[in-house]
């Protein structure tokens, strides 16, 4: 069967391996583009959030390429993302496609439903549960390598001597990672890719600003949705650290904070899980301040309710912890130039603030 999946950051490389390992043909949706967005906005409700529109657009593009099934994640609310699957399915039906959307709900909610859905994917190609476990582990390893490499690239970019070097090397790293097929190979490319990035000529004496990135998961992870914000900031000489990596919760190499800790630090401001990544935006901002970051950028799709609720709370955090927060609401109308101007102004202010603290400013 031809199976597609949501396009998000670099993760398609791992998802592709998983689907192929299960004996299906993986249809990788094209990298989101203007075309994706046009397809998406045309068929989505006006006030659906940007991730909804991009995902619908990329499903439609994948269907043009022959996809017969979409595998995506579900959710239990109150964030809208948990209902995407149902509505996407209805919209596809209405457009006359019989592509099936398989929504993986949390196994902790209904384990039989979860296993049943996996069986419906591995059953037809005759893959045993044993093989599934092996393939899944391999894909997971790959996902971790992808995260490691991306994390490292953001650490190096602000120091690069020649602007654009890191981004070029990073895309070469992705190609190599894509080639790796077995666990030893994956471990090998991890070392090679790290070396490639570490070999980029850098100027370590530079004083860089540190900015944390918080917000809604999709717009934080997908560069098309946030107009390559981490690259843009990196090339302005800002070291970015984002609060979300998919492989986060299994290890600490990406500066991972346990969800429990994040919720705990956010609790004086809000002690209710109000959906999406709202509470994490608050908690991570506080932690960034404690770790000496210069500022925080909150990314959110337009009409994203959890982040709207987080926004006034972040204002209070700014006052209490003295950490500036720039909130950016993204939608299909957001232009790169406008965002760039806002980021430049923000970074200038952060630099001035730091200089003042260090007594350099006049």
């Amino acid at each position: 069967m031809k199976i597609t999946f949501p396009y998000m950051g670099t993760y398609h490389i791992a998802f592709k391996m998983l689907i192929e390992g299960l004996g299906h043909e993986a249809i990788v949706p094209p990298k989101p583009s203007k075309k994706t967005l046009t397809y998406g906005t045309q068929n989505s409700p006006e006030f659906a959030c940007l991730p909804f529109k991009i995902l619908l657009g990329s499903y439609l593009e994948a269907i043009e390429l022959g996809a017969e099934m979409v595998i995506t994640s579900g959710g239990a609310g109150p964030c809208r993302a948990g209902y995407y699957g149902v509505l996407h399915q209805k919209i596809l039906q209405d457009l006359g496609y019989d592509t099936k959307i398989v929504v993986m709900e949390s196994p902790f909610r209904n384990i039989f439903d979860f296993l049943g859905k996996i069986r419906s994917v591995i059953g037809p190609s005759g893959v045993s549960w044993w093989t599934f476990g092996k393939v899944f582990r391999k894909a997971w390893e790959k996902l971790k390598v992808l995260d490691d490499i991306e994390f490292l690239s953001h650490q190096i970019r602000p120091f690069e001597l020649k602007r654009g070097d890191t981004t070029n090397v990073f895309s070469k790293c992705l190609e190599i990672i894509d080639q790796a097929g077995t666990i030893p190979e994956i471990n090998e490319v991890r070392v090679i890719a790290k070396k490639m990035l570490n070999d980029i000529p850098v100027d370590r004496s530079r004083q860089v600003l540190k900015v944390g990135i918080v917000g809604e998961i999709y717009v934080v992870l997908e560069p098309f949705a946030n107009h390559d914000i981490e690259i843009t900031l990196g090339e302005m000489g800002v070291l970015t650290h984002r609060s979300i990596y998919l492989s986060d919760w299994t290890r600490e190499s990406t500066g991972y904070e346990s969800t429990q800790k994040v919720i705990e630090v956010a609790s004086p401001y809000i002690d209710e899980l109000f959906g999406g990544h709202g509470i994490y935006s608050v908690g991570h901002s506080i932690l960034y301040s404690k770790k000496g970051f210069d500022g925080v950028v909150q990314l959110a799709p337009f009409t994203c309710i959890p982040e709207i609720v987080a926004k006034p709370i972040l204002n209070k955090v700014t006052q209490d912890y003295n950490i500036p927060v720039l909130t950016v609401f993204l939608d299909e109308q957001t232009g790169k130039a406008g965002l760039q101007t806002r980021l430049e102004a923000f970074v200038d202010l952060l630099a001035q603030k730091r200089d003042k603290l260090e007594g350099i400013a006049i």
């Binding site: 409700p45 006030f47 239990a76 109150p78 964030c79 309710i305 709207i308």
Partner: protein
């Protein structure tokens, strides 16, 4: 002098006011309600609230501001769930409401931001009431009495809704005023006007759409007029429940009206930038399209909604449906 509890005339007011009013009054406290939404209240709300919030949230901020000097406490409960449906909660803005108010407004009297999560168990509501009562040093027996008369008031209110009174009319009747059914007895057409109670019944926010329709000879039916039991039966028609209590009511009411052919048209009133409504609106649109019998229109309101624009759209919709009926 009794303690004054301020209740904002916004959001959950349109669904659960009779209970809380009766409960607080029987505790021996005084309840103060904010005035009906006006331009001033909306403007105040817009000033206080976060820019990206929807208009009902902004209006809520305005009502809280209105109560600032009139009450000793302001009642802003955190609504998490109000029935046993496990997957159903409220819009994140309801979940974070007390925090939004606390962080964006200053100089307020203390908030009563009690957490209402009724899916925990049958006695949960009583426990909440008990805690509230103890806060004001009221004895157990009085709390029990206040609780039961609150429940009675809410049941009576629900019964009035089932008899097709609107929440506002029902509250008036509970207060002892006479209110005749404003729907005409011999209507030209029947419309379902669906949306969250706080957008449908706030005359100022939606430019009085219900009375405008009534003046055109339309009988207006709303989600509140479908008895809760029948609403719940509609749940199985969708593959997965929505996560938000009020949205479920709207979608289920839409399915009920669609399948029972009780109406000539459906109007969905939604607030600009409303997250849950983006989903609900498309679901109703697709369900209506699939059945292909009942026309559907969606109206978006925000703080700039003008009377003329809305009127034109309503008149056009009514004329088209009247024409359609004549032809058939």
């Amino acid at each position: 002098m009794p303690v004054k509890i301020g209740i904002p005339r916004a959001l959950a007011y349109y669904a659960y006011y009779p209970f809380w009013k009766e409960f607080f009054q029987k505790l021996g406290l005084e309840t103060v309600i904010s005035q009906v939404t006006t331009k001033q209240i909306l403007d105040d709300g817009v000033k206080e609230a976060v820019t990206d919030a929807c208009v009902p949230i902004k209006v809520f901020h305005g009502h809280v501001r209105d109560l600032k000097d009139k009450a000793d406490y302001i009642f802003v409960p955190r609504l998490v769930s109000i029935n046993k449906e496990k997957t159903v909660t409220f819009c994140p803005k309801f979940l974070g409401l007390p925090n939004m108010i606390k962080t964006s407004m200053t100089g307020l009297p203390p908030l009563i931001d009690i957490r209402v999560d009724l899916k925990k168990g049958k006695l949960e509501l009583f426990k909440i009431c008990y805690r509230l009562g103890r806060k004001f040093d009221v004895g157990l027996w009085t709390i029990v009495k206040a609780y039961s008369s609150g429940m009675k008031a809410q049941a009576k209110y629900q019964q009035l809704l089932n008899e097709q009174y609107s929440p506002i009319e029902a509250v008036n009747i509970l207060d002892g005023e006479d209110s005749l059914l404003a729907n005409s007895t011999d209507p030209k057409l029947k419309f379902a006007v669906l949306g969250f109670p706080y957008t449908i019944y706030d005359k100022f926010v939606n430019v009085d759409i219900i009375n405008k329709l009534r003046k055109l000879g339309i009988k207006v039916l709303t989600a509140e007029m479908v008895p809760p039991k029948i609403l719940l039966q509609q749940a199985k028609k969708v593959p997965k429940n929505l996560f938000w209590n009020f949205s479920n009511q709207v979608l289920r009411a839409a399915l009920y009206y669609l399948d029972n052919s009780k109406v000539d048209g459906i109007i969905h009133v939604t607030a600009f930038g409303c997250g849950p409504d983006a989903m609900v609106d498309k679901m109703i649109e697709l369900e209506a399209k699939q059945r292909g019998k009942i026309p559907f229109m969606s109206i978006t309101i925000d703080e700039h909604t003008g009377e003329a624009g809305l009127m034109t759209r309503i008149e056009a919709f009514v004329d088209m449906l009247a024409l359609r009926r004549e032809r058939s």
